[in-house]
């Protein structure tokens, strides 16, 4: 098993367990472009740099600055299997090739989101992009951990609904 080794062992192992359990583990600044380590996850089938690129691609498709990286990791972790890995490796390799064509060392090496989005635009009709994007719709937004970041309250039945809890509490109209 390969590990993406960008952070200290203790933090990495903590986070790996957290991700595996589907839990929330907030981490700090961006890890992209070789800056300080931010998150870590064990990878089983994907190359570490492939997973790192895939996570950045996920954020570039659905960028929410309030959502920490680990939520995007959870959203794409399902591709880290022997069955899925070849498709992902191929797609990410093509993305990196496109980046080199634009004068960057890799997709991750493009520092500005606009530059990376331009590369995604060029492949957005393709099967690889559409698979990743479609998977994120549920993989990202159906994580209960992200709902509070959008104010969404989820179910209310266990609280007796909103009849006494603000279904008509709008006060600014």
């Amino acid at each position: 098993m390969t590990k993406i080794d960008r952070a200290g062992l203790t933090r990495r192992e903590l986070l790996a367990r957290s991700v595996a359990a589907g839990g929330s583990f907030l981490v700090g600044a961006s890890w992209v472009t070789g800056q300080s380590a931010a998150w870590a996850v064990e990878v089983a089938a994907l190359k570490p740099e492939t997973m790192a690129t895939l996570v950045q691609m996920a954020r570039d498709i659905y960028p929410h600055d309030r959502i920490p990286d680990d939520r995007y990791v959870v959203a794409v972790k399902g591709y880290d299997t022997p069955e899925q890995a070849p498709m992902i490796e191929e797609g990410i390799a093509a993305l990196n090739a496109a980046a080199r064509g634009k004068g960057f060392d890799s997709y991750l090496a493009a520092g500005w989101e606009d530059d990376r989005v331009a590369m995604l635009k060029a492949i957005e009709q393709g099967e690889f992009f559409q698979t990743i994007r479609a998977g994120l719709v549920t993989g990202l937004y159906n994580q209960k951990e992200v709902w509070p970041l959008f104010g969404y309250e989820g179910e209310s039945y266990s609280h007796g609904g909103y009849i006494d809890r603000g279904f008509n509490d709008i006060d600014w109209l």
Binding site: I61, H64, R66, G151, E153, E155, G161, Y162, I170, L173
Partner: protein, 522 residues
Amino acid sequence: MVAKYDLNDDSVVIIGSGAGGGTLANELAQKGIKVVALEAGGRYLPQDYINDEWESFGQLAWLDTRKATGGWRVARDFGGLPTWIVKAVGGTTTHWAGASLRFQDHEWKTLTNYGQVAGASLLDWPIDAAEMDPWYAKAEAKMGVTRTNGLPGLPGNNNYLVLEKGAKALGYEEVHTGRMAINSIEYGDRMSCQQTGFCFQGCKWGAKWSTAYTEIPLGEETGFLEVRERAHAARIEHDDTGKVTGVVYFDADGQEQRQAARLVCVAGNTIESPRLLLNSASSMFPDGLANSSGQVGRNYMRHTTGSVYSVFEKPVRMWRGTTMAGIVRDEARHDPSRGFVGGYELETLSLGLPFMAAFLDPGGWGRSFTSAIDGYENMAGMWIVGEDMPQETNRVTVDTDVLDQHGLPTPVVHYDDHANDVAMRDHAYERGMAIHEASGAVRSFPTPPYPSTHNLGTNRMSDNPRDGVVNRWGQSHDVANLFVSDGSQFTTGAAENPTLTIVALAIRQADHIASEMSAGNL
């Protein structure tokens, strides 16, 4: 107490247990008529419903293989999911939002009132508002529709209050919290609405009318109704005289069974009903059962829909409370000066965050999309439901090359928007966004149609056996003891949510079947 019939017992067999089939089953059972209802789905009751959008979707939605084709955007966005309907005892009455509006008088006679529309197969219903009035009254009383029979309207939630303010600012007059089959007070031994949201996922309080926990158990209590769940109808069989004699189905274990029938009522919703008739083709009926007109599967309608979601400066929290919490009816009139025939209703709607991400702009991505989702807490929403044009080429066919889990040919749902539909939708988007702007919206989204929940017209009603499948009673023109009891019998779709009309037609049909049976005619 619950009936249990032998496979050779020739009872009335109803296929489907939703608004049409479930109501018909109870009405017939109340009259002492033996009924077997074959329901493809399982039985889920309020305690089973899940207030989580995707999990509930997995529990209730009809997910069997289907294909969408044609120019409608649903074919592009949801090619394998043309409809958003339910496979369960109670059918789509578990999912529906509860809006219970009568057709407007002129909508029974659209060919007369709109005139010929190029490319459309408009037709007058063989029945009218006066004919339907008493049956609507019975349906409203049965379902506990608010603002009828002295039942108060529901209180408006935040989403409604936003709609109301904007609509009134624009001068709209018929703006209120709707006529809803959701209890505003205790009614029918069911409690009142607790403003919980998740109306689409099945009402956990039982405050919303659904045949799953009203008609079906009431029918079962009579001892005349047996509901056979997880029984997927495969074909209807007939004898040499052309009368139907039984229904072949796959039971919960996947075993083929045959239930004898003295009379068959098809109520499997507008996709499955024509599919079943087409899959029942025989040497006597080579184009499908009841299809001498060639109309089975044609004139598929799904309402001209779309949504408007808008972001405001401050929180709305539209998910709190009833999903369809209010309505603007002023645009439902027929007024060709707007550039289209027919009209549309505007009804509040909300989606939870997971479904908003899936439906706001299917296929959308990047900051334009995510900044909209970032505004979720400050969003209000409304749904457009308008009359779409029947077109012969909009149709349900079966694909004999793609078989389902039972080896049955699967349905293909083809739909192209008519120019009238497009003009109406564009008008409604503009009006909807204007309403939200008038209540302070800073950004609005004209959201494309979801997979169809209102599915209508594929076995349409006409006095003329050449241009319709069933007569004014929903009785097949070709086969006397075969009836259609769901929304597929709609001649045209009107602008109103269809459930109330389906229920009213089912009550009326039960009355007719019972009297014809006792007269020895069936």
